[in-house]
């Protein structure tokens, strides 16, 4: 066993070198957001001289990041909530009913994991146009909720299947109906799976820029990533503000990662072995 610990020294050096590769761009992003553009031009690798928040102020107020940020929050939280709720209901049926029709439906939802659904953007655009949903955040929420169904119903159905059926039967004998059993017996039991699904869907929805780029045409309806594309055109030379904008977009995910890295990793491996 001792042999291994000596062998481990070069391994650790290697791992720390890669950790530097992995993290330094993100650290530079945060550090540079506290510097001025002049400081960066003078000394590209320097550290902040003071805790300067001017560029945050500029990004948040002048460049409308306040609007983008709250749009992103509203869209992401609402979509995750709706997507998870409808998937929970469907997953319960998939796990507890043996009817062929529901098995077929589960297969249909699952196929959404492999299909490049973003390619259907054009008909979606005209559908939005017909329904008056262009530049409407609720339209975006509907799309993200629908896109959440394949992954979420897959994970939740797998979890429901592991639960012993006796609990539900006991509740039913005591006179509880299907809805009551579902809400008061099952929901508390599937909490770990709900946590995985919520955390794991939050990330791609928060980060997505494809759908809002096409469907949100009005500045007031931009989410953070699509706001960034405008911002990068307009503030091209104002590096300090650019770095602040990138940091604002990233911070919520870093916080999420620190609180819920367990759920993220389990979602990642579950999503990959689908």
């Amino acid at each position: 066993m001792r042999r291994f610990s000596i062998l481990n020294a070069p391994k650790h050096v290697l791992l720390w070198i890669y950790a530097l590769v992995s993290l330094s761009p993100l650290m530079i992003m945060v550090l540079n957001s506290f510097r001025t553009t002049q400081q960066m031009a003078r000394d590209p690798l320097g550290l902040p001289e003071s805790f300067n928040l001017v560029s945050y102020q500029k990004a948040w107020i002048t460049a409308s990041f306040e609007t983008y940020f709250f749009n992103s929050m509203f869209v992401t939280i609402t979509s995750v909530f709706i997507g998870t709720s409808v998937s929970l209901l469907a997953a319960y049926v998939f796990a507890r009913s043996k009817r062929r029709i529901f098995a077929l439906l589960e297969g249909l939802f699952l196929s959404g994991l492999l299909l490049p659904v973003f390619l259907a953007i054009l008909p979606l655009f005209y559908l939005f146009d017909a329904l008056g949903l262009i530049s409407n955040l609720w339209g975006l929420i509907a799309v993200y909720s629908a896109l959440s169904i394949p992954f979420s119903s897959f994970i939740l159905a797998a979890f429901f299947r592991q639960l012993p059926i006796e609990l539900e039967e006991a509740a039913r004998i005591d006179g509880a109906g299907y809805f009551r059993t579902f809400f008061s017996i099952l929901l508390p039991l599937v909490r770990p799976a709900i946590a995985t699904v919520v955390v794991f869907r939050f990330v791609p929805i928060w980060n997505d820029f494809f759908y809002p780029l096409m469907l949100m045409r009005d500045r007031a309806s931009y989410t953070l990533p699509v706001g960034l594309t405008r911002f990068f055109g307009e503030y091209q030379t104002d590096w300090a503000t650019l770095f602040a904008g990138l940091t604002i977009t990233t911070i919520p995910l870093v916080i999420l990662f620190l609180v819920a890295s367990k759920q993220l990793v389990s979602g990642l491996t579950a999503g990959m072995s689908k």
Partner: protein, 309 residues
């Protein structure tokens, strides 16, 4: 007796239907309907948003033979293939290497995994913009670092030069995705029983031989999954090229990819027939991704069967 049978029997179909209905409606309206409609769009001629007559495969012929598609399509498609090859060669092998190094490293494993996976969480658009600033020839930190350690000849305008720009995108994508193969390979390595590994050592297998004969075959399912997901990711690549080279794939189309070409055709071309041609492009990409993913999956299942008997 009656109640007991009811309890063990089926959930009433009415209740089941009520429970799946909200998900089904959302899925049908926002995924299924647009997907099937996109297919039909590609078979008609278009004048703006007015649908003309059924023209069969004419839009498909157009995207292969007429300008600008006759040049843009092979150009963009070759870049997608290059992104896939680059990811397989660099990203996934480094990911495997890191997973092997991390295996049995002890307490620190979790910390390293967290640090290596962090870029994966960041929006790919942010990653693209961040690296375009990092690699800026003016005062980008990367070239400043290269100059500081005496590698001045490497301080090049990486994103401005058509020959290096696409490789920069391979690198940026790999930087973001590396945690993905690492975690999956890590999980697969953790699943290899200790006894198998020890038995091989007792039989006199050295490190390399052990990896080739024991570890590698047992990693095969994970390698398959990683390859398929890398393929899909490379074919769908959009935010990083968009952030780095804009919607035209600058410099000079050197970073153009299929999704960008589709986006330009659908939303920026101003061509009256663009709905038909962009739908044809979308369907071609769709069929290619789905077809290759299915073929890869079946051949992998066969290969696994061969290995495991």
């Amino acid at each position: 007796m009656k109640t007991k049978r009811k309890l063990h029997g089926q959930m009433p179909v009415l209740i089941g239907t009520a429970f799946v209905m909200p998900a089904l409606i959302l899925f049908a309206v926002f995924i299924l309907y647009p997907l099937t409609t996109a297919l039909s769009y590609s078979f008609f001629s278009w004048k703006g948003t007015l649908r003309g007559e059924f023209t069969g495969l004419e839009n498909y012929v157009t995207v292969f033979t007429r300008a600008p598609f006759d040049e843009a399509l092979p150009n963009a498609f070759s870049h997608n293939l290059l992104l896939f090859a680059g990811a397989m060669i660099f990203q996934n092998s480094i990911g495997l290497f890191l997973a092997v190094v991390l295996h049995k490293i002890g307490r620190m494993k979790r910390l390293f995994q967290t640090m290596f996976t962090l870029p994966y969480l960041v929006s790919p658009l942010v990653v693209g913009y961040l690296w375009s600033l990092m690699l800026s020839p003016l005062f980008g930190p990367v070239n400043a670092t290269l100059k500081a350690i005496g590698l001045d000849e490497l301080a090049l305008p990486w994103l401005g030069d058509p020959t290096t720009a696409i490789w920069a995108i391979v690198f940026i994508t790999a930087w973001q995705w590396i945690g993905f193969p690492m975690l999956l390979y890590g999980a697969a390595l953790g699943g290899i029983p200790e006894e198998v590994s020890e038995a091989a050592e007792i039989d006199g297998a050295d490190g390399v031989k052990k990896f080739r004969l024991i570890t590698f075959p047992l990693l095969l399912p994970a390698i398959g999954t990683v390859s398929i997901l890398t393929f899909i990711g490379a074919m769908e690549s959009f935010p990083i090229p968009y952030a780095v080279g804009g919607s035209t794939g600058s410099p000079a189309g050197a970073t153009d990819v299929m999704a960008l070409l589709f986006y330009r055709t659908a939303f920026e071309s101003g061509d009256v027939g663009s709905i038909g041609t962009s739908s044809a492009l979308a369907m071609l990409l769709f069929l290619f991704i789905f077809g290759v993913a299915v073929v890869l999956r079946t051949s992998l299942a066969r290969a696994e069967k061969k290995v495991y008997g």
